[in-house]
């Protein structure tokens, strides 16, 4: 049946009428950057109003609209949908916030067919409801604009596949453009030149004051919330309820007692754990929280129930409740829990809330140590979020240590690691982060850290370790500290051992530790061995890759093997590359390890050995042989092409 544009537009209008824009409405400023580097550093080529989002999407077809949680991205997209009233422009809203756990399986069933994937996205998440078969009935002279909200609501891999699908759709479908909202995380884009990068800037102080004065006739009592109120969600909360923190909200508006808050926290965490999505099955949530809590949350407008599923009115509410569980269970602070609440390191609000609500500096510092053990970048992002909320209690010493350890990776041989380290520093608003970004070498970093004086004895102990000179051999006692249960000390030792001269005996000691250490220590050791190229160490790394039960050890071994291939002499290099060629099946079997391999092969150009492309290409060609489709093979073809571009044929 021929699609009727008028009917389609009416469906969208009615849907938007059912969710009116919060009042008062805010004026948003969009910062435009050249790419992720500039976006993360908040370096903007220009700043505009939101109308430019549409204009620029029409120019290149693709805009990534990035921003923090509660930053206004959803409001902006809906405002655009309301205001775009051009005769030849059709708007389709795609709300990925409605993604549920079963949708992952549905997505896999679509296979690689772009039209099937697109059809799935439109059928499940689009308003107006439009499908590829009646898509073609839209007149040719109609511009089609997809507003895709919430890429961060799905797993990282699916997010990447959704971007690919939309990218391709925009390429082949005449007059089609897309604006995708996302957190400020780096995404893989097939051709970054075809994208425009936009950032929703925090609300400026004059606008905040204007609204506060209009509502309360004063601003003084909100002074301590200044940083927080630059986030539109929190300003809106203050204007509605006169408070901005979630604890007060759940106690005063949802009337949850302390014990109920804990139970709601467990239910919220379990929903993330079981479903991995913001929309979750109601029954298990109810089983934990109980009927009374469900009623309270619904009456407060926090929980929205639709048949057998539920979601929170804003995901920050869900994140806050999950953080209540995290705070209450310090014995569970580990990779597993952090992966769950961060959606595998793509969303850090829960961790930031947790950091904010830890009631002592000592506990907050311990939390950051646990985070660092999970992910140095995850720790950095959570700390940065904590700054924006201005309530986090971690010590300056802890923050400096975390920043310095990230800064050290700026000079990592593997470019992806260096880039992540830069990103972690860029999102941090402190003067130390800025200074760490300006340092020109590892030697300068060490010198700089040596001069930092902070009032914490443990910091000085750490400083002595961190600033260990490159020419000094470590003592056996120092090497032994790689087994330290304090993750900061353990990882500092690991990183220092990578830059100092290790004798054969030192390396033998580390290899011996590998045999009977706990999993995180084994990870640290394989990390060190990557910087000590030798046949013996390569064999140890291959053993770890083949048979260590802990995935992070295999991940670390993969990285270290590639690093070793780049550092070693020809004999060891060839041994490593042949070994990797023989293990392509194992690489393919483990997504995390495979992704790490794909990242690790891009070493610093100036440090890459001669003929790096021709050395690595056979491994990639072997991987490509397993490709089940032309499209899959294309992934490997592009990887080789990137190698050639960077390192020559």
């Amino acid at each position: 049946m021929k699609a009727n544009l008028r009917t389609i537009r009416r469906e969208l209008r009615q849907a938007l009428e059912q969710s009116p824009e919060p009042q008062p409405s805010f004026d948003f400023t969009i910062g435009w950057s050249q790419g992720y580097d500039e976006l993360l550093a908040r370096r903007f080529l220009e700043e505009t109003d939101i109308a430019q989002l549409v204009e620029r999407s029409l120019e290149t077809g693709r805009v990534l609209l990035c921003g923090r949680g509660g930053g206004g991205k959803t409001v902006i997209l809906r405002r655009l949908a309301r205001r775009i009233d051009k005769k030849h422009l059709l708007v389709v809203l795609v709300d990925l916030g409605r993604w549920r756990a079963p949708n992952y399986e549905d997505w896999e069933k679509c296979g690689e067919e772009p039209l099937k994937r697109l059809g799935f996205l439109l059928e499940e998440f689009a308003t107006p409801h439009i499908t590829p078969d009646n898509w073609d009935c839209i007149p040719a002279n109609t511009l089609k604009l997809f507003l895709v909200d919430g890429l961060n609501e799905v797993s990282r891999r699916i997010g990447h596949e959704i971007i690919d699908t939309l990218d391709e759709f925009v390429q082949y479908s005449p007059h089609t453009s897309v604006i995708i909202s996302d957190r400020l995380v780096r995404r893989e884009l097939r051709d970054p030149k075809r994208w425009r990068f936009a950032f929703v800037e925090p609300l400026p102080q004059p606008q905040i004051e204007k609204h506060l004065i209009a509502k309360f006739h004063e601003t003084v009592r909100f002074e301590q919330l200044q940083g927080l109120l630059s986030t539109p969600y929190f300003l809106d909360s203050v204007l509605r309820h006169a408070y901005a923190d979630f604890r007060t909200y759940f106690q005063d508006t949802a009337h949850l007692a302390d014990e109920e808050l804990q139970r709601a926290g467990l239910a919220a965490f379990t929903a993330y754990n079981d479903d991995g999505t913001r929309t979750f099955a109601l029954a298990p949530f109810k089983a934990i929280a109980g009927d009374a809590i469900i009623v309270k949350l619904r009456d407060a407008g926090a929980l929205i129930v639709a048949d057998s599923v539920a979601y929170f009115a804003h995901h920050l509410q869900h994140d806050y409740l999950a953080s209540v569980y995290v705070v209450a269970n310090p014995d569970k602070w580990s990779h597993d829990i952090f992966d769950v609440v961060s959606f595998r390191a793509s969303s850090f609000e829960t961790l930031a809330f947790a950091l904010e609500h830890l009631d002592t500096t000592e506990t907050a510092d311990r939390f950051i140590r646990s985070l660092y053990d999970w992910s140095p970048y995850g720790a950095a992002y959570a700390v940065a979020e904590g700054h924006y909320r201005r309530a986090a209690r971690f010590s300056q010493a802890m923050e400096v240590v975390m920043l310095a350890m990230n800064a050290e990776r700026r000079w990592d041989l593997i470019r992806a690691s260096a880039r992540r380290a830069m990103d972690a520093l860029r999102v941090n608003p402190t003067e130390y982060a800025r200074q760490f970004l300006e340092l020109k070498s590892l030697a300068e970093l060490i010198q700089f850290v040596r001069q930092i004086e902070l009032d914490a004895s443990w910091f000085n102990e750490w400083k002595d370790l961190f600033t260990h000179g490159g020419d000094e051999e470590p003592t056996y006692a120092e090497i032994d500290r790689i087994k330290d249960t304090d993750s900061i000390i353990g990882w500092t030792v690991a990183n220092v051992l990578r830059r100092v001269r290790l004798t054969r005996n030192h390396q033998e000691m580390l290899r011996a530790f590998l045999r009977d250490s706990e999993k995180t220590v084994r990870w640290r050791i394989v990390h060190v061995l990557g910087a000590c190229p030798s046949r013996e160490n390569a064999e140890i790394l291959f053993n770890a890759f083949d048979s260590d039960p802990y995935d992070w050890v295999r991940y670390g071994a993969t990285r270290s093997l590639v690093e070793m291939a780049a550092r070693a002499d020809q004999e060891v290099r060839e041994f490593v590359v042949l070994g990797l060629q023989d293990r392509t099946e194992r690489l393919l079997a483990d997504e995390k390890v495979l992704r790490e391999f794909e990242d690790a092969i891009f070493v610093r150009v100036e440090k890459a050995p001669q003929g790096w492309t021709s050395l690595i290409a056979p491994v990639i060609e072997k991987l490509a042989e397993s490709a089940k489709s032309f499209r899959q093979r294309g992934h490997w073809v592009r990887l080789v092409f990137r190698l050639k571009e960077d390192y020559g044929a």
């Binding site: 290149t60 002279n141 082949y172 007059h175 073809v637």
Partner: protein, 303 residues
């Protein structure tokens, strides 16, 4: 108002950078230079890798030329995908060189092959000792254009006057219409078992290349919407014979000439395509105006 929105009020589908009647894709530098010279496409579209005869305010072009970043079907698919997005061309020509197969349809060095079918040799399933073919749907080169445009140009013969280079030795290049096998390798060892098997399997193919399949796939993916119906052709000048001796040496000697014969024939075809388009576009515009009128009338009555 952005350019695209302005375009849309008065045109059939255009791309992000404008509209081109004919888009030409090449792969290696010799091909690119031959096409640039033959079609006189010397002007670079700023900040892009496209070449046109001259920039226009209307952003409408008769021809646009680009070179894929590398050999291979994936790069060709990507290049054509970008061309489609940027210029929504009516016609897409893949023009370049290829390895001919000696002993098939009299194929000789310097001849121009026009593909009537593209076979992709890499999509196979190896199981239980068998090597089975697995087909991937793509668009074949346009039969309609082959019959109405290519064949008359071939018979006319005057296209050889457009060849800009002299051959390494005396030849009379001709146009041969036949199947091309597209793969991901450069073939040229007559004793190689895999090549021998390939030529046996595709026993009626007249040439091998590495990009035709990618082009066909891109066109297939673009032709999902009734308002946009691109068609493509493949022209390959024969630079070497894959099942002959000293293949590599021959290719080095003949590739520039082969590129120029392919460019010359594609130029002759291009002239005819443009003539045909002038008629077609008038019809497009008439249909478009009729649709606008009917929309306005419906809106008026709806009020």
């Amino acid at each position: 108002m952005p350019q695209l929105l302005t375009d849309m009020t008065s045109k059939v589908p255009t791309g992000r950078l404008g509209f081109a009647e004919i888009a030409i894709v090449t792969i290696i530098e010799e091909e690119f230079e031959a096409l640039r010279e033959t079609f006189e496409l010397e002007t670079n579209v700023p900040h892009t890798h496209y070449y046109v005869s001259q920039l226009t305010g209307s952003r409408e072009y008769e021809h646009v030329l680009c070179k894929a970043p590398e050999r291979g079907n994936h790069h060709a698919q990507q290049a054509v995908g970008e061309l489609i997005e940027d210029f929504r061309p009516h016609f897409i020509l893949l023009v370049g060189i290829a390895g001919g197969i000696e002993g098939r349809d009299g194929v000789a060095l310097g001849d121009v092959i026009v593909a009537n079918l593209i076979e992709y040799s890499e999509s196979r399933k190896r199981v239980a000792g068998q090597d089975l073919e697995r087909r991937i749907p793509i668009d074949p080169p346009s039969t309609h254009l082959r019959d109405t445009i290519v064949d008359p140009a071939r018979r006319d013969g005057s296209w050889t006057e457009l060849i800009r280079l002299a051959p390494p030795r005396g030849v009379e290049p001709k146009v041969v219409i036949g199947p091309i096998v597209a793969g991901e390798k450069i073939w040229g060892d007559l004793n190689n078992a895999e090549q021998v098997a390939l030529l046996q399997r595709y026993d009626n193919a007249v040439a091998v290349d590495m990009e035709s399949f990618g082009v066909g796939l891109a066109v297939h993916m673009a032709r999902q919407y009734s308002d946009y119906n691109p068609q493509y052709l493949v022209f390959r000048g024969i630079s070497d014979l894959v099942n002959a001796e000293a293949n590599d040496k021959t290719r080095q000697l003949w590739k520039r000439y082969a590129a120029s014969t392919a460019a010359a024939f594609s130029r002759a075809v291009g002239h005819r395509l443009l003539d045909m388009s002038k008629v077609v576009n008038v019809n497009w515009r008439q249909r478009f105006l009729k649709r606008i009128r009917s929309t306005i009338i419906k809106w008026w009555w709806g009020k």
